[in-house]
Every structure is written in C-alpha cells, then in structure tokens.
C-alpha cells in the first residue's frame, strides 16, 4: 500500500516536471519571433557598430580597411562634429523644459471636469503629433518663410517692420526649429501629464478644499508632488527623443543655414548616406553614432541614479 502511493506520487511529480518543461518550451517558442526581430534590428546593430567604427569603409562590399581608433581621433578633431554635438544639446535644452511646462499647463486646463468641450480642444492640440514630420517640415518652410503667415501676422500687429526669413537666418533658425518642435510634440506630452493627473486620488482634492486650500496651494502641495514620478518618466522620454531628432530638422533646414541647425543625426546621415560628401564613409559615421549613443546612455544613467537617490532620501526622511 505504502509503496503503491509512493510510486503514484513520483509519477505525478514526474508528470508535473514534464508539464513544466513543456510550458517553458512553449513560452520560449512564443518569445522567439520577437527575439529574432530584436536580435536582428537592435542587438546585432549594437555589436556590429563597434566593428564598423574601426573601418575606413564606403559600404561597397570589399573596400573596408581596418584603421583602429582613427575614426574616433578624426571625429574628436572635427569642429563640425562638435558643432553638431553642441546643437543637439541646444535643441534639447531649448525644447524640453518649455515643452514640459506648457504641456503641464495645457493638461491642467483640459483635464478640468468643468470645462465644456475639453475633449474637442484636446483632440485639436493633439493633431500635430500624428502628422507626418516631412509634411510638417514642408509646410513650415512656407509658413515661416518671408511670405508666410508668421511674418504677415507679426507685421500686421506692428511687431516687425520687414519680413524675416526665420528658417534661413543662421541666428534665428535654431530658435524657430525649437518652437516648431514644441508645437509638434506638445500634445503628446499633454496626454502624458493628463495620465499622471488622473492618477491623483480625488479624495485628496476634496480634503484640500475642505481645508480651504486655493488652486495654487492645491497644485503645489498636492498635485505637483504626486505627479513628479510620472514627470521623471516624461523627462527621460523627452530628453532621449529630442537628442535624436532627425525628421523635422532634415525636412525643414537640412542642418543649415551654415550648419546652424546641424545635429548629430543629420551629421551622421551626411557622412553615411548623402552624396554631397563624395563617397560615403560608413565607418566614420558609425563612430559618431557610438560616441553620441554613449552620451545619451550616460545621461539616462545619471537621471536614473538621481531619481534613486532622491527616493532613498525620501524614505530616510520618513524614518
């Protein structure tokens, strides 16, 4: 009797193990398609980019010459690279704080339950987000050109005496590109903020009202602290997103005039794919990509570390 029960439990557990194995197998089978695409288009590029960066290579199959770190050396000595590098950060620093601030204001206005037609306004503000960047680029070249709507309006209200060519003046182009970028992406950030705002429990607002707190007091004492964690995610998304801007710049200014809006992605494109530099230099462009990707990863890492240390301080304070 005893032996019988023993054998039956071991049979059950054997069956369980084989079931578990089968499940694991199925799981990996389900993950495999995604893994293959991931390996081909994200994993492989990360690995092989290092190799490419050591080559003097035009991409025509058999002309690659190993040059060690020469590409990086040349990159460090190229003032145009540093100009593009600086511009990427100017673009990011000009876009992100303003955009996040304006998007938060828009979110507060359009998340107000007492505002009629709020969803229609929200939709209209969101429209630029879903439109094609290359179409936007072409429209903006006209709208901000000398005959365009911006000059016309500014001259009508007397702020300008003569038309300014906003996108082809090297002193103004970067500012104009930043403004257009903010316009294009504000709606998305508004939605992010609204998602954060909707996570704040209603009871807290009611409690604040009972305590007699006004709008500003409620915002700074309740809303802001509670949406800061979401704010950190939004910040990270925007910093990374604006540092790798390509479509808008390429279609509006192509990095010009006189490299005033040239960013790292347009710099890379010029060396890797455009005919204006003669033969393509894929190895050199790859080294620029690696250098800049590292910068972005370091910034992301710093952000994560700062967030973590802030969190641990908070916990310490509560103890």
């Amino acid at each position: 009797m005893r032996t019988l029960s023993k054998t039956s439990t071991s049979a059950v557990s054997k069956k369980k193990i084989s079931n578990k194995r089968r499940t694991t197998l199925w799981c990996w089978l389900f993950i495999l398609p995604n893994l293959i695409f991931y390996a081909m288009f994200q994993g492989w590029p990360i690995i092989v980019n290092w190799y490419y960066s050591t080559l003097d290579w035009s991409g025509l199959s058999s002309d690659a010459v190993f040059v060690g770190l020469n590409n990086f050396k040349e990159l460090m000595q190229d003032p145009y690279f540093w100009n593009a590098y600086k511009n990427s950060f100017v673009f990011m620093a000009g876009s992100v704080p303003l955009m996040l601030g304006l998007a938060l204001i828009a979110a507060l206005v359009f998340n107000n339950p007492n505002l009629k037609y709020a969803s229609i306004y929200r939709t209209l503000i969101f429209i630029p987000v879903v439109t094609t960047a290359s179409v936007v680029g072409i429209i903006m070249v006209y709208i901000w050109g000398s005959d365009g709507a911006v000059n016309y309006t500014l001259m009508q209200i007397g702020l300008l005496d003569e038309p300014v060519n906003w996108l082809s003046d090297p002193n103004l182009a970067m500012m104009t590109v930043i403004l257009i970028n903010i316009w294009k992406n504000l709606g998305m950030n508004m939605v992010y903020w609204i998602a954060g705002l909707q996570g704040v429990p209603r009871e807290l607002y009611e409690a604040a009202r009972v305590d007699g707190a006004g709008h500003f007091r409620t915002f700074f004492s309740i809303t802001l602290p509670l949406i800061l964690p979401v704010g950190a995610v939004i910040l990270l998304l925007n910093v990374a997103g604006s540092l790798k801007v390509f479509d808008l710049i390429k279609t509006m200014t192509d990095g010009g005039p006189f490299y005033a809006t040239d960013v790292v992605s347009t710099y890379i494109y010029r060396f890797a794919f455009s005919s204006e530099m003669g033969l393509p230099r894929l190895g050199y462009a790859a080294s620029a990509g690696i250098f800049f990707a590292f910068t972005i990863m370091i910034i992301a890492l710093i952000q994560v570390l700062v967030k973590r240390s802030l969190n641990s301080k908070k916990v310490g304070g509560q103890q």
Binding site: P45, I143, V230
Partner: protein, 276 residues
C-alpha cells in the same frame, strides 16, 4: 450668473482662437491644394479657395507618383502592423502569463533597448537589409520597420494577459485546450482593446516613418513611401507649391481621419506608456 457666463464665453473664445492658430498650418495646406498656382501666389495665406480645383491632386497622383507612394505606404504599414501584432502578442502572453526559465534575463535584454537610440543603428540595419538581398524590395522596408523590441507593446500585452482570471484558463484546460489553443481561443479574443491600441499606434508610427524608408529606398525611387516621396519632390522642384500641398494632403488626411476615429485607443496606449 451672467458674469460667470461671460467669463466662460471669453475662455472659450480664447481657446477656439488658440486651437485655430494651432491647426492653421494644416488648414492652410489643405486649402492650398485646391488653389491654382496664380491664386496661390496672389493670396497664399487665405484659407478659402476661390474654386475647388482638383488639378493639383491629379498632377501629384500621376506625375508626382503619389499614387505609387500611396500604395507603397499602405502595403508597408499593413504588413508591419501584422508582423508587430504577431510578435508582441505572443511575447506578451508568455511573459505576462507564465514564469519560466530565462524570463528575467529576457526582460532585462528587452529593457536595455529603451536606452539605445535606434537612429544610430541605422548603418548596421542598412547593411543587414543589403546583405539579406532585400534592398530593392518593399519587404526590406517592412522588415526594418517591424524590427526592434517594441517594448511598450510587449508590456501592454503582458500586463493585460496577467490580469485575466485563472479560472478562464483552467476551464479551457479542462476542455482540453493546450498552451496554443488557450492563447488563440481564450486570451487573444479578450485582448481586443490592446490589439486596437497596438494597431493604431503602429499605424501612425509606420505611416509617418521617415529615416528608415528614406535610407532603404535611396537607389529605388519607385519604392518610396509618402513621407519620403514628398520630401524628394520638394528637392526636385520647389516651385510647384500647390502640387506639393496636394501631395502633403494625400499623405496626412488619411492618418488624421484614422486618428479621429480611433483616438481613444491611441491616447490610452500613449498614456499607458508613462504610467507603466
């Protein structure tokens, strides 16, 4: 009471004006696509065309190759959506529903990709598509567009599937469903809202995608998508503004209409991205 009504009226007047300025560029372009060249140069900024000319659309569609670009965009977008839906739903199901050997490691690998800017992988992707012999076909563009981890979609599916009550699954097992059939007959039909979000988000991203199709169609102009075709047209002849406006209208009106119809899925998905 009247004061309150007045201030409400002023608020709405201000918001309507703001929204009008906000979308003026698109209204301007759509209007310009109906104007004649003459009218465009005389009254470029007005929003109501004197007569609705269809010449610009006919010119863009035939001579500007926008008919070809339009069908390329449709093929690339739909094929990409199908692939992405398949690879993220299956992956999300396994991750959300089961704990298995190697799961943590896989999530870690997937997570890294958030920090790696895809834009800088463009050279290896270009070479890979070339080495696969897909350079002169739409399938090369489709593969590259569908590539990557799609971490957001995987997580959306995983957190949805994790919430499905165990009883449903157990009932399916008692009915004799295995892993695959439980997924197809029980889990997948329940996940329609997530499928909707993935379809509309991927639709918008692929339809608007610029760098990948630009690079992969450099030597094959007939494979361009709308976003790339419009850019190339502008480079070749900037004088034909009304033709370009018509091409731009062809490119963005479909995406705006789809967004207006399905915006709930898109906005919910985007909001899900930051809430985690």
């Amino acid at each position: 009471m009247t004061m309150k009504k007045l201030s409400q009226g002023l608020t709405h007047a201000f918001l309507i004006a703001l929204c009008f300025v906000w979308i003026y560029p698109f209204l301007w372009m759509i209007s310009a696509s109906f104007k004649t060249q003459n009218e465009f140069f005389e009254k470029g900024l007005s929003l109501i065309p004197e007569s609705f000319q269809l010449d610009n659309f006919i010119r863009a569609w035939n001579e500007g190759n926008f008919g070809q670009y339009f069908s390329n965009s449709i093929i690339v977008t739909i094929a990409t959506i199908l692939i992405v839906l398949f690879i993220t739903a299956t992956c999300g199901y396994a991750l959300g529903r089961y704990s298995f050997f190697g799961k943590k490691m896989f999530i870690f690998i997937l997570g890294i990709s958030i920090f790696v800017p895809l834009e800088f992988s463009i050279i290896p992707i270009f070479q890979l598509i070339k080495d696969l012999g897909l350079m002169n076909s739409l399938s090369g563009v489709i593969m590259a567009e569908a590539g990557g981890g799609h971490v957001l979609f995987v997580l959306l599916f995983a957190s949805f599937f994790a919430q499905i009550p165990k009883e449903l699954e157990e009932a399916a097992i008692i009915d004799g469903c295995g892993f695959l059939r439980t997924f197809i007959h029980v889990a997948l039909p329940l996940s329609k809202p997530i499928i909707g979000s993935v379809v509309i988000m991927q639709f918008i991203w692929t339809w608007n995608s610029f760098l990948l199709p630009l690079v992969l169609t450099l030597s094959t102009p007939e494979l361009r998508t709308l976003a790339v075709g419009l850019y190339a047209l502008r480079g070749e002849n900037i004088v034909d503004w009304t033709g370009i406006a018509a091409g731009g209208t062809i490119a963005i009106v479909p995406i705006i209409v789809i967004f207006l119809v399905l915006q709930r899925y898109f906005v919910d998905g985007m909001a899900g991205a930051v809430k985690g």
